[in-house]
Structure formats: C-alpha cells, structure tokens
Symmetry: C2
Subunit: 186 residues, 2 copies
DNA sequence: CTGCGACATTTCAGATGTGACATGTTGAAG
DNA sequence: CTTCAACATGTCACATCTGAAATGTCGCAG
C-alpha cells in the first residue's frame, strides 16, 4: 500500500549516481572520474549512460542543477526526493543475487578443450586475478580509510575485493590440481 | 589479421546455449530447464531470451533443427560452425572481468544509514548467502560428479560457488565487526 | 470424454548497456 | 598568439535483458 508498486524498478546506475551526489554536488564530468575510481569496480558505466541518466534523474526531480559553469558545466545536487529514493533503495530493495559471470560460464565447457587448453585457461584466470589483486592492494595502501563515511565503507567494499581475489586464486589452484592427470609422469 | 574484427562480440547467452547443445541435442523447452538447473547460477536468462536466441542461432547456421515433434517441438543440434564458434569463444575471447554487483554497490553508501540499518543490511546478506550455500551443498551431495566432462566441470564451477559463499560469510562477519562501535556496552 | 497440468513456442514493449562519434570551450605552456 | 590537453556534454545505432502475455497441443487422471 505505502510502497508504490510501479516504482520497484532496479536500475542501479541511477542509485550509484544518487549515492555519489549524496556525498557532494558534482558535474557529470566529476562523477565520471569518481565512478572510474570507485564504483566502476562493482558497477561499470559508460560516459553516455552517465550523462543520459543525469538528465533523466533531473527530469524526475531526484537531482537538481545548482549552477552552470564554464564550458557548459552543470553542477548537480541531490534533492530531498533523491535522498528518499536512495534510502528506499538501500533498505527496501533486495539486491539481485545472481551476478553474471562470463569466466565461470566457460568453466562448464572446459571439457570441450584439450587438457592443455583448459589448464591454460585457468592459469590465465589465476594470473589476471592476481594482477587485479595487486591493484586492490595498491588502493588499500594508498588511501586513508579513517576519514569520512564514504571512505570507511569503501574500505569494506575493498575488503570484499581482496577476499574475492584471494578466494579465486585458491580456487584456481584447486581446479588446476583437479585438471591434472592422476599420476602424471611429467 | 586472422581474427575477423567484426565478430568479436560478447553475447554469452549465445555461447551458453551452444555449450549445452554440444553435450546433446535439445529443444528450447529442454534447454530452459537445463539452464535453470545449471548455468542460471552464473548466467541467468529468461524464456523469451532463450527462444529468441535459438532462432537467431539457427539463422546464423550455428545450430540446426533436426526434427519437429509433437506440439511444435523443435529439436536443435550444434552444427560444425557452431562448434567452431564455441571453441573460439572458449579460447580466444577474454572473459569480462567486472561483474556488476548490486549488493556491493550498496555497501559504498552504508554510511547514509543508521548503524542499526547498516548492520541489518549486512546480516541479511550473510543469511541469504548462507541459504544459498546450503543449496549448493545439497547439489554437491546430490550428484555423481565422476560421470562425463560436463559434470566434472560443473563440479569445478560448483566449487567456486562454495568458496564464494564461504568467503562472503567471512567477509560479512568482518564487516559486522567493523561496523560495531569500538567499545559497546550492549 | 473432459479438464487440466505439463509441454512448447512466439511476440512485444520497454529498460538498460555498449561503443563510437560529434561538438564545443578553456586555460596554460611555449 | 597559437595549439593542445583537459574539460564538458550530447546523440545515435545497435545489442541485450526483462517480464508479461498470447497461443496452442498432448496425455492422463477422474
């Protein structure tokens, strides 16, 4: 009753933007770079998507242009309605649990490859994961995580990434062991 | 040079279908249920998407109708071209690494909630993950994983799920600890 | 012989995402 | 005073995904 049914759409880019704007007003250009540094790790978005969504958001009254600067720069801030919508999304909308995973989909079909190809596939995944892990470590070391809510919670998300990559490395090792012939003479 | 540039499109549902058909011929209806039991965990797809893709795949010559049965049932099998495309996808196309994660996106904005709300959010995620983990365990126990390539590799994908859910539970505990006030009197 | 659940496919509107291209401004280095 | 990188936004075609609805058949329990 109290929740409008028609409003229960997902659209997380929208809420990512609202979330960033809840921190501080910003232009599309600002948001784009912030996005790339933070949220893109969990929710990638292209430039065209971002600008498009900003216009839609303004149209829907969830954000508002506060000033128009040089080079057509438009600075946006969150409206009260936008803050409410963000809160609603945070507490009332269940996250989508199934995340598409390209890499894992291929695993189902590893039997179509030679053992050598399959091993190469897993080894490559292991290597890529390790590189990504190193990037995350660099972010961990390069930041002050005590300042402000956004950073503090960014740290929690980062921790997830660190544990995820660690898990994936261990899984890759397990899989490589499993793919190996039982008693190899090599 | 040797790789046609225009062909490097992603489209993993397409390859999921090709992969299932590489195992045995099937109708759209068959594939739908197989999908739900296996691949949907890593690559969800709706019924309309599946049937649509089957027609496109047949049109592109990657699969072929072998027989038309009762109730308009069309049984498809993989063509040589389909097998080649599947192989190409497995060995030549790098998986997309960034997976959208709704749940983690919210974590960045946990600072907008009260501590109580934030804790409830993580606790709920923990509980949902645990339930999913139990489902995966049931699948592990309920199957014979020694028969055939598809099962064997399905087991490797399942292992990923088991480790993923374990990781997420531990992460949730870590996050809950971090969200707790330093010296709570409760 | 009737109803109904499982089988089986198609279509469609609308949301969302991708990648490329188009367009223009501003400030600072040289 | 020129030029160039960074700033800044917009648009388009196309691919993909979502959810619902429409349509009909077959076999079997009652």
């Amino acid at each position: 009753m109290s929740i409008m049914e028609g409003t229960l759409i997902r659209m997380s880019l929208r809420h990512g933007i609202l979330g960033l704007l809840s921190n501080r007003p910003a232009s599309g250009y600002d948001l784009l770079s912030t996005f790339q540094e933070t949220l893109a790790n969990v929710w990638p978005a292209t430039q065209s998507q971002l600008y498009g969504e900003l216009n839609r958001l303004a149209n829907d009254g969830l954000i508002r242009v506060t000033s128009t600067g040089a080079r057509g720069r438009k600075e946006y801030e969150l409206t009260d309605a936008g803050g409410d919508e963000l809160h609603r999304w945070l507490v009332d909308v269940e996250p989508k649990r199934v995340n598409r995973n390209d890499m894992l989909l291929r695993v189902f079909f590893l039997g179509l490859l030679t053992r050598k190809e399959a091993v190469a596939y897993i080894e490559n995944e292991r290597a890529v994961t390790e590189r990504y892990r190193a990037e995350l470590k660099a972010i961990e070391d390069g930041n002050d995580w005590s300042q402000g809510d956004f950073a503090a919670n960014g740290r929690i998300a980062l921790e997830w990434g660190l544990r995820y990559t660690e898990m994936q490395r261990e899984w890759a090792d397990w899989a490589l062991d499993r793919l190996a012939p039982k008693r190899s003479k090599d």
